[in-house]
Amino acid sequence: MSEPTVTIRFFARLREELETEQLSVPAVANQTVSGLLASLASRGGPWARLTGDQPVMVAVNQAMAKPSTPVRAGDEVAFFPPVTGG
């Protein structure tokens, strides 16, 4: 059986800065968006910007989420800059 994971996606400026479009991380019990963000930021280098001054928006399973939103095995979490369409 494969390990339960969380899929993480990055868009626009974040995708370019991290040179990462998508990655998969092991699911952690009782994890939240802010915990996931802190663990990604601890990778250092450009990843530290995830918890820096620039605003980062987050969606869990394609719905806008908050720092306290739970992240569970199988979820898709997306991080992106404030949107600028239209």
Partner: protein
């Protein structure tokens, strides 16, 4: 109906299609957004539009549903282009038909304002000097929030 596409669209055909909503239609309001030569930077020669497939359509459908709860909306059409766009290209189309002009104007403007601050699209400006991801504007956020105050 919502379309996210790389291809251009014909605003005239979209307007004509909105006329087909039925004999109760008394007003059609449409908005078309174009690529202009200045934004965060001057000398813009084109844009690149990125989006979050799936979430984009869900968010826009939510805005159309909300518009339908607040105003008389007989039919709503949203088209948003993605990928590389040249100067003066069409980016976005919002069309709403209704019994009366007030509802058509309001619903069209609401969908457009809320799309700009909630639908997951990102614009990159291309100039001869380089590229730049467009920053979200406080003015756009304030415009969307003004609709909440009216509700």
């Amino acid at each position: 109906m919502i379309s996210i596409q790389t291809e251009d669209f014909c605003a005239g055909s979209e307007h004509q299609a909105l006329r087909g909503a039925g004999p109760g239609t008394g007003a059609i309001a449409t908005f078309t957004g174009l690529v202009r030569d200045s934004g965060d930077l001057s000398g813009v020669t084109g844009l690149f539009l990125e989006h979050y497939p799936g979430m984009t359509e869900q968010v826009i459908q939510g805005l159309i549903d909300e518009a339908g709860q607040r105003w008389d909306v007989q039919r709503a059409r949203v088209i948003h282009r993605i990928g590389p766009l040249a100067l003066s290209d069409q980016i976005v189309f919002v069309g709403v038909c209704s019994a009366h002009r007030g509802d058509a104007f309001a619903a069209c403007e609401f969908i457009m304002d809320a799309l700009k601050t909630s639908a997951p699209f990102w614009k990159k400006e291309i100039t001869r000097e380089g590229e730049h991801w467009v920053e979200q504007k406080e003015m756009d956020v304030a415009r969307t929030q003004s609709w909440d105050q009216e509700a």
